[in-house]
Symmetry: C2
Subunit: 194 residues, 2 copies
């Protein structure tokens, strides 16, 4: 639970009372590898903050292919925002890539927190804005970069993830087929050897 406080206090400072109210609004939960926290068609009823493990947030297209929207390591938040905000069915899946511990807060509690502690609403405003910046950068990468450039940019941005992720998942994130990523990698290797 302390991890959550540290995460939030980097942006806004809370009194001990506020900390207590905050923590009491969350539930500690765990899932096993390959479990789903959310499936397409479900209604997303709360927010997820990962403390241990790794999640992925992805969509399934009409041809049955998966597309990774986000990897969610400890210290990061996830859910299907659209479903959460509108109450409509989710378009994304949230699945555990490893055994994962997380904190969960129901929408109703979240809304109460915003009223009782405006600083929490500030925290989430800033969180959303930062996330927006990251999404914009990723969009620009699709508009202006080749697959190889997107791969290298991914490695720079998430060095810790690059190692522990199956290639297939990285391929899905940067928007290429696993076969093509494999070919790119063998090229990159022979390039550096020379």
């Amino acid at each position: 639970m302390n991890y959550l406080l540290t995460n939030i206090q980097k942006v806004v400072s809370l009194t001990p009372q506020e900390e207590e109210l905050l923590l009491s609004s969350f539930e500690e939960r765990s899932v096993k590898k390959k479990d789903f926290l959310l499936k397409e068609g479900d209604i997303s009823k709360g927010l997820i903050f990962v403390t241990e493990g790794l999640l992925r947030n992805y969509s399934l297209d009409k041809n049955g292919f998966e597309h990774v929207l986000q990897f969610v390591p400890p210290g990061w938040w996830t859910n299907d925002i659209h479903s959460y905000k509108t109450g409509l069915p989710a378009r994304f899946f949230v699945e555990a890539m490893e055994d994962t511990d997380y904190l969960w807060i129901r929408k109703k509690n979240m809304e109460e927190l915003f009223i009782k502690i405006p600083k929490i609403e500030r925290f989430f405003r800033i969180l959303a804005e930062n996330s927006l910046v990251a999404h914009q950068a990723r969009l620009i990468s699709f508009l202006s970069m080749t697959a190889k450039e997107r791969y290298m940019s991914f490695c720079e941005q998430y060095p810790s993830l690059t190692d522990c992720l199956p290639q297939k998942q990285v391929a899905s994130y940067i928007g290429v087929t696993p076969e093509f990523l494999s070919k790119m990698l063998s090229e990159l290797k022979t390039e550096t050897k020379r």
Copy 2:
């Protein structure tokens, strides 16, 4: 100015005093077609709310190609969020596609408003969240759709823009060359004729 109030009151309600404070924090400004409101390398010092006309927010890649991040018709907000939040040089340009009127608020005034009227901070939290949802959808379109599908999805989503925008700009938004969009369109025409 009233347009701004209408826009905000759709999400949160304000008292007459709050309305007045809000409006007094903004400046009315105008630019001519082809003028820049922000250039790469500038520091983004405030937020822009368009009341009349049309802006575009784009980046320039290392080969000199433009990539449209956002079109900004009346009722929409824009700036370079990253630069605005960090004080670092902007990566994007904001340019007027037509003579445009807009409201402008300095960062310092914005921060004061957040303190004096928490509902305004709520409005911007929700604005950022909605924008995030839109960005996610666009990301998924690059991961899962062909150029033709992205084009059709763009037309559905922004019917009013489709007509008034030069093809070249639409091409830049959906991530293809103007030549390729032109070929796609002539194909689509012959398809519907049959």
